[in-house]
Symmetry: C2
Subunit: 118 residues, 2 copies
C-alpha cells in the first residue's frame, strides 16, 4: 500500500518562507510592531509567526505577504520549477533588498510524523 502516505502536518511555516517574511520586512525597515499595525495584528503575533511558534491561517498569511508586496499563488506542481526560475531571474544577483529565495517544497522541517491511525 504505497499510496497511503499520510502528509506530515507542518508545525510551523517552512523556515525558508519565514526567512523571506523577515527579510522582506527588514528590507522595508519595518519593526514587527510597525508591520502589525498595518495588518491589525499585535507585535507578539508577528513574532510568533516569524519564529515558527504558530502556523497562521491562510487569510492571515495572505494579508501579511501582500503588505510585503508579495502574493501566494496556486501553481501546478509541474510549473513550480519554472516559476521559481522566473523569480530567481527577477531577483538581481546580490540584491541588497534581501529578496532571495522563495519557498518551494516541504522540507519536512519539524513535522510531527506521529499520527495514530485508527
Amino acid at each position: 500500500m504505497l499510496s497511503h502516505l499520510k502528509v506530515a502536518r507542518l508545525r510551523a511555516l517552512p523556515s525558508a518562507l519565514r526567512l523571506e517574511l523577515v527579510e522582506a520586512r527588514r528590507g522595508r525597515s519595518w519593526s514587527q510592531a510597525e508591520l502589525g499595525e498595518r495588518l491589525g495584528l499585535p507585535q507578539t503575533h508577528i513574532s510568533g509567526i516569524e519564529t515558527g511558534k504558530t502556523v497562521p491561517r491562510f487569510d492571515t498569511l495572505l494579508d501579511l505577504v501582500r503588505v510585503l508586496d508579495r502574493d501566494l499563488l496556486l501553481v501546478p506542481r509541474a510549473l513550480v520549477p519554472a516559476v521559481q526560475a522566473l523569480i530567481r531571474n527577477h531577483m538581481a544577483p546580490g540584491d541588497g533588498e534581501g529578496e532571495r529565495a522563495l519557498y518551494a517544497d516541504n522540507e519536512a522541517e519539524e513535522a510531527d510524523a506521529t499520527r495514530s491511525q485508527a
Copy 2:
C-alpha cells in the same frame, strides 16, 4: 482614490481558489471523503473549506493543494501577472483536467454566510 486602504480580512478563501480546489478534486474523481482520507481530514472539513465556511490554516491548505498536484508559492507582486500567464499558457485549451483559472487577487469576496436554511 485613497491609497492606503486597510487590509480587509478574508472571511473565506477567495472563490476562485475554492473553485480551483473543487475542480481539481473532481478532475481526479475524488469525493470529499476520499480527499479527506488522504489528508487525514473529515469530509465535513473539506466541505467547509470548499464552501467557504472556514478559512483553513496555511499548513492545512498546503497539504490540500499538494495532494491535488499543486503548490502555494510566494511570488513578488511584480511577477504575479507573468506567473499567471505562465500557468494559463501551460493549461492546454480543452484539457481534460479541470485546470483553468488560478487564484489571483482579492476579488473582495466578503463571503457573507449563504444561509440557505430550511
